[in-house]
């Protein structure tokens, strides 16, 4: 093995790639090599520039500067077509699928093999069957992609790349949407690819995955490569420190929970999504003061709908949500009314739901509280009060830069999230609902946000955290509910919860209720 690598030129070599988006220097002279027939990891914090550099390799973005070599030969990649021709395939962080097309149509797109579809379809069907056999990729070819679970959609993406003859396969954060078990399946698949002589470039920020499967790993921070090491010569802690640039606490610091009175009771809750599909099925649980309850589960198993129903953004079709002596469902209390009762919400999708990106920070800090008497003076809004409130929260939550008039889009992800958390937490709500509290947020801000949530718990309030990051659930929660297929399939106390147990439950393997 080792000999082979020294003999062959690297499958992919980047030389001094730079890319700037306006004010953001996303990549700064990035250079590294990927050995042929290896699985190479690329790791870095959110915003480190990983996706950008991979998009450059795939011809989706154009580098400002630098050179790309494939199999030792310099190639000019100025479009996706060039990349495909050079044998590069990519599975994007956000899938590039046409949802209302069938699998086979999606796979064919761009390589139809002729002006008419009919013959192309026949040929593609054959080729895909073979691919399926070779790699154990089993996908229903005539299913509509949008109706497939994400795990299968990902396989469609991989098939797409392989069908285009990819020798180098780039996967950008492929496991974010998978259960641990599905992730293991994916890794087995990657192993098979490596055996067949393909080169895999795995982009992630999860240390566990890097350690589990890669041969070599490149670490990026703030657009630059800061380290390149053999996986077997490193440790998670070392990688984490290289990623962040300082020593980090991989564990959340908190005292024991002291659960108090029951604050929120959910029973028999049923919720349909916009398409009318039942996404939450007869869900019931209780929240007590002084505890953080985590809801674990693979994305798309009803957590989002559950959270939206609790927050009042989506009307349930049945069931009860009792809070402060009222039934929120029967009384049809809207999100604003719930906030007034003391039920606050940090939404999962910050940019789309939690803020209005074109508004200033100051305007965003009254979102949901726009009718509050503090912010209004008679018919008009009290801009002075709004400004002062924002300035105060920015100071208290260490938001940088502390400029209330700055458009929210100009803040970094972490600071945007701090603003949202400030808005919702500062009022000390009785119950706080939080979705993906640290998605797209760097480690410094993660620590800060986690501390705020724990602070709220220690003040006797209840916090419900929904997250697809198991580490986060395990770090934060005092009690864990696992959702799969729209149901709560298990409840674990923090003490008894392990990654394996939760993983099994997430995959829908039920065990006896505790």
């Amino acid at each position: 093995m080792v000999e082979k690598i020294t003999v062959l030129p690297p499958a992919l070599e980047l030389r001094s790639i730079s890319k700037r988006f306006g004010a953001v220097q996303a990549n700064r002279a990035v250079s590294f090599q990927v050995a042929a027939g290896s699985v190479h990891g690329l790791i870095g914090e959110n915003g480190a520039g990983k996706s950008t550099v991979m998009n450059i390799v795939y011809g989706f973005h154009r580098a400002d500067d630098g050179e790309i070599l494939v199999n030792g030969r310099p190639v000019k990649i100025s479009s996706t077509q060039d990349a495909i021709a050079a044998g590069i395939g990519m599975v994007h962080q956000h899938f590039m699928l046409v949802e209302n097309f069938t699998v086979i149509e999606n796979v064919m797109l761009g390589v139809e093999g002729g002006p008419l579809l009919a013959e192309g379809i026949a040929k593609a069907r054959e080729a895909l069957a073979k691919l399926g056999k070779d790699y154990g990729l089993d996908v229903p070819l005539d299913a509509i992609v949008g109706s497939l679970p994400v795990g299968l959609q990902q396989r469609v993406e991989i098939m797409k790349a392989l069908h285009r003859g990819a020798q180098i396969l780039i996967l950008d954060e492929p496991t974010a949407v998978l259960t641990p078990q599905e992730a293991d399946q994916l890794f087995r698949l990657l192993g098979r690819l490596r055996e067949q002589g393909k080169t895999v470039l795995l982009v992630t920020h999860k240390l566990r995955e890097i350690m589990a499967i890669t041969d070599r790993v490149t670490v990026m921070r703030q657009g630059s490569v800061v380290a390149e090491v053999e996986t077997k010569d490193t440790s998670p802690r070392e990688l984490a420190e290289k990623m962040v640039g300082r020593s980090v606490l991989l564990q959340v610091q908190k005292g024991p929970a002291r659960p108090g009175a029951e604050l929120l009771t959910v029973s028999n809750l049923e919720v349909r999504d916009a398409q009318g599909v039942m996404r939450v099925k007869r869900v019931g649980f209780k929240l007590h003061g002084g505890e953080i309850v985590g809801i674990a589960g693979v994305a798309g198993n009803g957590q989002s709908e559950l959270l939206e129903a609790l927050a009042g953004m989506r009307a349930p079709v049945g069931g009860e949500i009792r809070f402060g002596g009222r039934d929120l469902v029967a009384e049809k209390i809207d999100p604003r009314g719930r906030r007034e009762l003391g039920l606050a919400h940090v939404p999962e999708d910050r940019l789309r739901v939690g803020v209005v990106t074109s508004f200033s920070a100051q305007e965003n800090l009254i979102l949901g509280y726009q009718d509050h008497e503090n912010f209004n003076r008679g018919l008009l809004m009290n801009n002075q009060a709004i400004l002062e409130d924002c300035a105060r929260k920015m100071a208290a939550y260490d938001v940088r830069p502390p400029q209330p008039g700055l458009r929210i889009a100009a803040f970094s992800g972490g600071n945007q999230q701090k603003l949202v958390v400030a808005r919702e937490v500062d009022r000390a709500p009785t119950v706080l609902l939080v979705g993906q509290p640290t998605r797209g947020v760097d480690i410094g801000a993660i620590e800060f946000i986690h501390q705020r949530l724990i602070g709220l718990r220690d003040a006797g309030k209840a916090v419900l955290v929904v997250s697809v990051e198991l580490d986060e659930i395990l770090g934060l929660a005092d009690r864990i509910l696992v959702m799969a297929g729209g149901e709560i399939v298990g409840e674990l106390s923090r003490a008894e919860a392990t990654e394996e147990k939760i993983g099994l439950l997430m995959a829908g393997v039920r065990e006896e209720k505790t």
Partner: protein, 370 residues
């Protein structure tokens, strides 16, 4: 819209529209030259015709008054994320409201008629916008299509009323009798005469002041009230609105009502201010011009007032042009309008990029609302 490089705000608001305007006029000059007239002469005639005398100023501002109302109507809907193409029909029906008040109560004192007429115009205009708004909110019917259809339906309804119901007996023309003279908007020259200023008689009237007032109210409403805030949230992100407990469907309906009410204001100027009767097709396309006006004015009341004046000047200057240049006919003025909308509205990015490159060595980060 968060293009990495950004124009400074002043350039975005003032320079960019001016560059677009210049390009449109340049193209228009080309067409005029094709017609065998001197473009230079034509432009001079237009500018002179628009601003060269008290009369031309009066007419320019008179037309501008209509465009302020319809431009504001488009802008309010736009802030809520709605494209209201129905300004024409809403203005038509709104005018009916104002007109009916004047017909019935034209003998009342002006101070008593005015508020009722304003309510009539706003109320009828809003009512005509209500159904498209409701259908958009509740049924998701494409508002662009429904408002266009409502323009046609408004025309049919008005023709029916003017031919069969409201027509002044014994008369050919499908128009109502003249309003009682108490209900006429005081003309600008009358008002100015009272304070001792001499101004040529033009149709410019008190409605211009009302239009400016409406612009001021819209500004306060959109940026300084919680309802305007809610409206902007819905326009920018319906999801965020739901999150904030703002009902997008309710805001959609509210925005359309407001939009229709503003469009109805046209009747105050055109009917109460100038024609003093309801007549066929009196909005004369001002509802559509409002789209261009709102766009050029960046959907901001101040911008709308200025671009309405620009379009008023284009109208007045254009009619002067056709008056004095026989080979330039009235359709040429329509072409110029189209070109202005094209280069100021649709092609603005074409000018934005070179302008940004020209100006934008140093990008000022940090802007408030946009």
């Amino acid at each position: 819209m968060s293009t990495p490089k950004q124009l400074p705000r002043w350039a975005d608001l003032i320079l960019l529209p001016l560059v677009g305007l210049a390009a449109a006029l340049l193209l228009s000059c080309g067409v005029i030259a094709l017609l065998g007239e001197s473009p230079w002469q034509a432009m001079r005639l237009m500018v002179d015709g628009a601003f060269g005398s008290q009369e031309s100023i009066g007419y320019s501002l008179f037309y501008a008054t209509n465009f302020i109302f319809t431009g504001l109507a488009v802008a309010v809907a736009f802030h809520a994320g709605l494209f209201n193409i129905g300004g024409e029909g809403q203005a038509y029906i709104g005018g009916l409201g104002a007109g009916l008040v004047c017909l019935w109560l034209g003998h009342w004192p002006f101070w008593a008629v005015l508020p009722l007429a304003v309510m009539g115009a706003a109320g009828f205009g809003a009512a005509w916008a209500f159904l498209p708004g409701l259908l958009q909110a509740k049924r998701g019917s494409h508002i662009v299509i429904t408002t266009i259809m409502f323009n046609f339906i408004a025309s049919a309804l008005m023709t029916y009323l003017l031919v069969n119901v409201l027509i002044k007996p014994g008369q050919q023309s499908p128009e109502t009798r003249e309003f009682g003279s108490n209900s006429w908007m005081p003309f600008a020259h009358e008002i100015l005469a009272r304070v001792g200023l001499d101004f040529t008689a033009t149709p410019l009237n008190l409605a211009f002041v009302l239009a400016l007032g409406a612009a001021g109210l819209v500004w306060v409403f959109i940026w300084h009230t919680r309802w305007g805030y809610a409206l902007r949230v819905v326009g920018q992100s319906p999801e965020a609105a739901v999150y904030a407990g703002i009902s997008p469907s309710r805001i959609t309906i509210m925005a359309m009502l407001l939009s229709g009410a503003l469009a109805g204001g046209l009747g105050l100027n055109e009917l109460m201010g100038s024609q003093h009767r309801i007549l066929i097709d009196f909005p004369g396309g001002a509802g559509f011009v409002g789209i261009a006006v709102a766009l050029m004015g960046r959907n901001h009341p101040v911008g709308i007032v200025f671009s309405a004046i620009l379009f008023g000047a284009l109208y007045q200057g254009g009619s002067q042009l056709t008056f004095d240049m026989p080979r330039v006919n009235r359709d040429m003025v329509v072409v110029i309008q189209g070109l202005v909308i094209l280069s100021c509205g649709a092609l603005e990015n074409m000018f934005r990029q070179p302008l940004t490159a020209l100006l934008g060595r140093r990008r000022k980060s940090g802007e408030g609302r946009s």
